[in-house]
């Protein structure tokens, strides 16, 4: 396998989980159990960390491989030639952390190749490279 394997940061999700953990704690405080709330927060954080670690992608010669998920593990292979277009989006949280999401669209509705939490430069590079490869290997429907 030639491509570089990059582990991504879904920092946005982490931040969200942190906030969730905090709110959980305050709710639990009212109930009187700080320790359980902290444990819950830690568990959540660990879950998010696992999710973040599981999300990876690989650019191969002919196709892009994206794998993700801890509970539900998924791995997709999308040939460059089948790509219809590439999307780069960045929500407000992602923007705050200078991140972006790259999404590959094929003619199939079920195709699922989304790479969130990419550094902005990496996202742009990936978009350009995918577009270029798609152009070179384009196949009709």
């Amino acid at each position: 396998m030639r491509g570089l394997e990059v582990v991504l940061g879904t920092l946005a999700v982490m931040a969200l989980a942190l906030a969730e953990g905090a709110s959980n704690r305050s709710a639990a405080l009212a109930g009187g159990g700080t320790g359980s709330a902290a444990a819950l927060g830690a568990l959540l954080l660990y879950g998010v960390y696992r999710r973040y670690r599981a999300w990876r992608y690989q650019e191969r010669d002919e196709d892009l491989v994206v794998s993700r998920g801890v509970m539900f593990r998924r791995q997709s292979v999308v040939p460059y030639g089948r790509m219809q277009f590439v999307d780069v989006t960045a929500g407000p949280v992602e923007r705050a952390f200078k991140l972006a999401t790259v999404k590959l669209h094929t003619a199939a509705a079920a195709s699922d190749a989304r790479i969130p939490g990419l550094e902005r430069d990496e996202a742009a590079r990936l978009r350009d490279r995918l577009a270029e490869l798609g152009e070179a290997r384009a196949a009709g429907l």
């Binding site: 002919e62 196709d63 509970m71 539900f72 593990r73 998924r74 791995q75 997709s76 292979v77 999308v78 040939p79 030639g81 089948r82 094929t106 003619a107 199939a108 509705a109 079920a110 195709s111 699922d112 190749a113 196949a139 009709g140 429907l141």
Partner: protein
């Protein structure tokens, strides 16, 4: 798009729609007007007619006709070389170019009213959203047939004056079987069960107030019956006289009682094939066959044949479906393998109905207890391959492999296989589909039409015969 007042690109010879277009377009409203007017006229003789109603209906009909006339005036089309141009729109000009090479399917529709005037509507499907196709309504019928032949000839890279090739009839659906199949569905069983339930309930309750409850029961029964009859009628009328034929330019489908539809799908444009066997039909050895085509026709208007899925055979015996499968698509059936025994623990209800396999050209999968669906996806049409494993599957060391084709639900789902097998399949399908894709694009680049080579082995000689 700078479509506003687009100057002529080259000199395509523009043509108009048929002058009767406004009449057919506003036809329904005209009909309403006629009915209202006639009704009021008869009442008027009694001395209590409502002139306002007649005027309103007349105004509505007039608007319909005027809109149709405007559409007729602003729409024009031309066919040059490899592109069909359609320009339309009064305020918002819409100029579209439909490259013939990208055609996914060509349909000729004859709604009832258009049929009465000898007109037809032509629809061209391209891949992509609903707005990317083209629609010409209405043309004189011979013009529509001629245009269809030209479009398809152009699509296959032939000279456009090539006459429409003759088609070889493959199958027809007898009316009796069509009606029987429409009546014998799961929905019918459900309706009947509900009805029985209602009747029993009311019979039980009727001891207190017999008259009222029996009226309600009868009303419910009647309503259900009307709904059921309507659904059955719609299906029978739409699929009446269904014939399937194979011509060098594609699969030809014709059906319809009052409104008729003729569809042509180039074989190479078939994304996936599905064989559907509902429980009741399965007992009779019947099934239906559907194909998925990428893309949809022009503006979504009406539901007639606007779905992406086309019935290749609305109902037929299993052997007939198998024959169609091999004759039309040039594919062979191959035995499917069941998942490992332990999958029964994960999917106890489905286990006996799961099977899948691949022969290096096509991947197939079957599933469904009540409504058994077998899907075939040609490997050169594969858009993406996915490997999925849920927590329960992990506990049993199982995994599912999805093979997606273009469209919303065109995919083969190889469910609950042993992890090792799933991994192997996943790798193998990626490799096989890559090979198949290369071979297909190589064929296309050579200018050979994959559809003819796939389906018949040799391009049939052009014949002056015109398939109706």
């Amino acid at each position: 798009m700078n479509a506003v007042a687009a100057p002529l690109h080259g000199p395509p010879s523009w043509q108009k729609l048929h002058p009767l277009t406004p009449v057919v377009g506003g036809g329904r409203l005209l009909l309403v007007f006629a009915v209202v007017a006639a009704e009021q006229a008869t009442i008027r003789q009694g001395g209590s007619g409502d002139l306002a109603l007649v005027i309103a209906a007349g105004a509505l009909a007039l608007i319909g006709v005027v809109l149709g006339a405007v559409r007729y005036l602003v729409t024009r089309w031309a066919l040059d070389g490899s592109t069909l141009h359609i320009e339309t729109g009064l305020f918002r000009r819409d100029a579209r170019k439909l490259p013939l090479a990208r055609i996914q399917a060509v349909d000729v529709l004859k709604p009832f009213l258009a049929r009465a005037f000898g007109l037809a509507e032509l629809r061209v499907r391209l891949a992509g959203s609903a707005r990317s196709g083209g629609r010409l309504a209405y043309l004189a019928e011979p013009v529509a047939w001629d245009l269809r032949a030209r479009l398809l000839a152009g699509h296959h890279g032939l000279d456009q004056s090539t006459p429409q090739p003759a088609e070889r009839p493959i199958a027809a659906v007898p009316t009796g079987q069509l009606v029987a199949s429409s009546v014998l569905t799961g929905a019918t069983a459900l309706v009947l069960t509900c009805l029985a339930l209602v009747i029993v309930l009311f019979a039980a309750a009727s001891s207190s107030s017999p008259a009222a409850s029996s009226t309600v029961g009868a009303g419910t029964f009647l309503l259900a019956l009307i709904g059921f009859a309507r659904a059955t009628w719609r299906r029978v009328a739409a699929q009446y006289g269904f014939t399937v034929g194979l011509a060098p330019d594609g699969i030809r489908l014709q059906h319809g009682l009052l409104s008729t539809v003729s569809e042509t799908v180039p074989v190479a444009r078939v994304q996936a094939v599905r064989k559907v066997e509902p429980l009741v039909w399965r007992m009779l050895g019947w099934c239906s066959l559907e194909v998925d085509v990428a893309g949809s026709p022009g503006e979504e208007q009406g539901t007639r044949s606007s779905r992406v899925t086309k019935a290749l055979l609305p109902v037929g015996r299993s052997e007939m479906a198998d024959r169609l499968f091999s004759d039309l698509l040039g594919l062979r059936q191959f035995p499917l393998q069941p998942p490992p025994r332990r999958a029964a623990w994960k999917s106890p209800l489905l286990y006996h109905f799961l099977s899948a396999g691949s022969d290096g050209r096509v991947v197939a999968s079957a599933s469904g207890r009540l409504r058994k669906v077998t899907t075939w996806v040609p490997l050169e049409k594969v858009q993406s391959v996915r490997w999925v494993q849920g927590p329960l599957q992990r506990a049993f060391h199982l995994a599912t492999v999805h093979v997606d084709a273009a469209g919303r639900r065109a995919r083969a789902e190889i469910r609950d296989r042993a992890v090792g097998e799933a991994d192997f399949l996943f790798q193998q399908l990626v490799l096989d589909s890559r090979g198949a894709r290369r071979a297909a694009s190589w064929l296309e680049r050579r200018g050979a039409s994959p559809s003819t080579t796939l389906a018949t082995g040799q391009p049939a000689p052009p014949s002056p015969l015109r398939g109706a």
